[in-house]
């Protein structure tokens, strides 16, 4: 009888013990940097002619140059996204001026640290809403601030 119980218990113990692999198993952790630029929205809005044209250029730039080049823009949103958002929020002239200004600031390799807040992935946070020439749209964040999700 004792032998029978022991034989019955042993497999049960073994099975439960083996289920511990969840706890002790190798963590499947990825150290790869997330490439957000690979999840771009390439869709085109055919209703708006101006936006359609602009987005076509942006899609072409992303597909042929930016995505191949890699995640090199130090800003969030990237300069091309900034341009699109700027035009969307204002008009083509003001959006272009905002873009040229952003592009100049992007070239500045000394002044970014200690000036812009960061997104959690390390990019400098610089949304178009700061440059709409509307004091009320400016939501100032100090450079020590880190945004969780953007």
């Amino acid at each position: 009888m004792k032998l029978f119980i022991i034989i019955l218990l042993l497999p049960v113990i073994n099975i439960f013990a083996q289920s511990d692999w969840i706890k002790w198993g190798k963590a499947d952790y990825s150290y790869q940097i997330k490439n957000n630029f690979q999840h771009r929205d390439y869709s085109l809005n055919k209703k708006n002619y101006e936006r359609f044209l602009l987005k076509s250029f942006a899609d072409g730039y992303w597909l042929l140059i930016s995505d191949v080049d890699g995640d090199n823009c130090s800003f969030n949103p990237t300069c091309s996204n900034f341009f699109l958002q700027s035009v969307e929020k204002t008009n083509i002239v003001q959006g272009s001026l905002m873009f040229f200004d952003r592009f100049t600031r992007d070239m500045d390799i000394f002044g970014k640290v200690g000036h812009y807040p960061r997104v959690s992935d390390g990019h400098f946070y610089d949304p178009p809403s700061l440059y709409l020439m509307n004091q009320d749209s400016i939501k100032y964040l100090p450079h020590s601030f880190v945004l969780k999700d953007e």
Partner: protein, 288 residues
């Protein structure tokens, strides 16, 4: 038989002491409930402290406990509830003046400056109130947070303690004449010398890069026209105009961001000052 005997002895040794303890200490007695609530309060576990204080208040009435409940709500940032609880403190209570100050503090912290001023005018300014100076300090301080017209210097300063007067004068003068940068000036400066407007708004490196890009592309355009490369000349010329105009626009925008920054820093300085002075309210330490 021996086993049963040992088991009985063993059970008795376990159960008797437990029975004795449970009869000696009533953990749910009002005194122990209050002790536990005080402990939770001092551990900043305010939500559970409120629960225990409310349990305590079922059997008795205490202004001090009501006051603590209100303080706990205030500490948790539930200002609406804290105001309601402070209102529960009766007028005759010794804690009534403090409760009124705390109501003002809660209104202040929730950003209801107009309500705060109305409360001060209705409940404090015309009444015989010992802590009127502290209340007036908070009342005056509220003007530094809004765009409403400031009281006169004399009226503003006389509410504060002489030790703080230098700091208060700095705040007042800042609010009266904030050291803002003008968008128009920044734009004009950048129109005259590319990048100068950015330097005016404390963005030195941005200004330098704006100067380099504008001047660099202008030179490339000139050089290509000069060499008979008209396409490149127009291309670089267009880019030069773009960077130049973008910089004029960006300088004006940069002035606005600069102004937002100094206002942000100013408000933070005010908040730090208020926190360090406990909103001009006498500090009561419940956790000695």
């Amino acid at each position: 038989m021996k086993k049963i005997f040992i088991s009985i002895i063993f059970l008795c040794t376990i159960s008797f002491p437990q029975e004795n303890n449970s009869s000696a200490i009533n953990l749910f007695s009002p005194i122990n409930t209050k002790k536990f609530a005080d402990y939770l309060f001092c551990q900043h576990d305010y939500l559970r402290a409120i629960e225990e204080y409310n349990r305590y208040l079922l059997g008795t009435s205490s202004d001090s406990i009501k006051f603590r409940i209100a303080i706990a709500y205030s500490k948790m940032g539930d200002y609406k509830q804290s105001i309601d609880e402070f209102m529960e403190v009766p007028e005759k209570s010794q804690l009534s003046p403090l409760a009124k100050l705390e109501i003002m503090k809660s209104l202040f912290q929730s950003g209801n400056f107009n309500e705060l001023r109305n409360y001060f005018n209705l409940k404090i300014s015309n009444n015989n109130f010992n802590e009127k100076k502290e209340a007036k300090s908070l009342y005056n301080f509220s003007f530094l947070f809004t765009n409403d017209s400031l009281p006169t210097e004399h009226n503003f300063y006389n509410a504060f303690h002489s030790d703080d007067l230098n700091k208060i004068k700095k705040f007042y003068n800042w609010k009266k004449d904030p050291p803002e940068k003008k968008s128009l000036t920044a734009g004009i400066l950048s129109a005259i010398i590319p990048g100068a407007g950015k330097i005016y708004t404390n963005q030195f490196w941005d200004g330098l890069w704006a100067f380099i890009t504008s001047v660099g592309f202008t030179y490339l355009s000139y050089d290509n026209f000069h060499a008979g490369h008209y396409f490149r000349g127009w291309l670089f010329g267009g880019l030069a105009v773009g960077f130049y105009a973008g910089n004029v626009y960006g300088s004006a925008a940069s002035a606005q961001i600069y102004n937002a920054k100094i206002h942000f820093d100013f408000v933070n300085d005010l908040k730090d000052f208020l926190e360090s002075h406990n909103y001009f309210i006498p500090v009561i330490n419940f956790c000695k």
